[in-house]
Symmetry: C2
Subunit: 149 residues, 2 copies
DNA sequence: TTGCCATATTGTAATGATTACAATTAAATT
DNA sequence: AATTTAATTGTAATCATTACAATATGGCAA
């Protein structure tokens, strides 16, 4: 039931000389199966059930490692809520201010480079939007029809 | 020596029924004069010198208030480092991974709306880039010429 | 397969940013 | 100037994250 990208991820880890420990594989596997931009807490709770010896520190350590080698990106769209995302392709993040869910959307920031930054070395790009998602919009509209200008 | 936008900000506060207290004015004035995307700590330290009775809680309260009414935006480009920005115009943020400085750059996300999000209500947009700024680049290049792929 | 060594993991304690809250003070209106 | 309402203060609580030393484990060599 392995995600096709999972193997290639393992190879990348090996090539970097990173030990494929049980917990690391679990965290990585979780990220390849859950595109829900989970928090450390969510990952920890989910994996702790099947691997009761897993500590939260290890989740932090593993995620930090994966971010360092570029396999995982950090989503800091909101305070006190660091989220993680294994997707690599060009996309932005929309956070619903009502239900809290984070949606991916495609956006290409590379096609028209920013003139102002031509002498900057850009290693990382992200786009964050906030607002109300369609599902919450339909709920709100039916009751109040209030606009939050 | 008042910044031209300062008065209009005050009017906006009044129109919202927000009391123009001494500390609030100080924080607002600081933000209109310092476009350096300061942290709470930086604002507190700077203002505490001239207003020793200012508490850090008040800085937090004031900033949260200004964010709520839309006068200030939060920059969460990095963990543990919430920054504040009074600029309203369309722009993104570049953070130098070497010196830590945050640069503004112009970017227009409104001219080509994201098709995927047409049924979303978008209240807020931001673009975060990370990398190395020209000043740090020239320092690094002279010594190592190493590329961080 | 077994043993060894380097590294990963654990768990607790420390840190640091942010918030809660009750007492005090100040702003604005009469 | 008095009054009322809201802002401010300062301490303590909370929460996410990290530091660190002790322990356990992965992967290589024999």
């Amino acid at each position: 039931m392995m995600n096709p990208t999972f193997k290639s991820l393992l190879n990348l880890l090996k090539s970097k000389g990173i030990r494929l420990s049980h917990h690391r594989l679990k965290v990585l596997e979780y990220l390849t199966k859950n595109f829900s931009h989970p928090t450390v807490e969510q990952i920890y709770i989910a994996l702790h059930e099947e691997s009761p010896t897993l500590s939260k520190t290890t989740v932090y350590n593993t995620l930090n490692l994966l971010v360092e080698i570029g396999l995982v990106r950090v989503i800091n769209i909101e305070d006190n809520e660091t989220r993680y995302d294994i997707t690599i392709k060009n996309h932005g993040h929309f956070k619903c201010e009502s239900c809290g869910k984070i949606y991916d959307f495609g956006i290409d920031l590379d096609s028209s480079p920013i003139e102002e930054l031509k002498s900057f070395k850009i290693n990382y790009k992200d786009v964050y939007f906030k607002g109300i998602c369609p599902s919450c919009l339909s709920n709100i509209d039916k009751t109040k029809l209030k606009t939050e200008e």
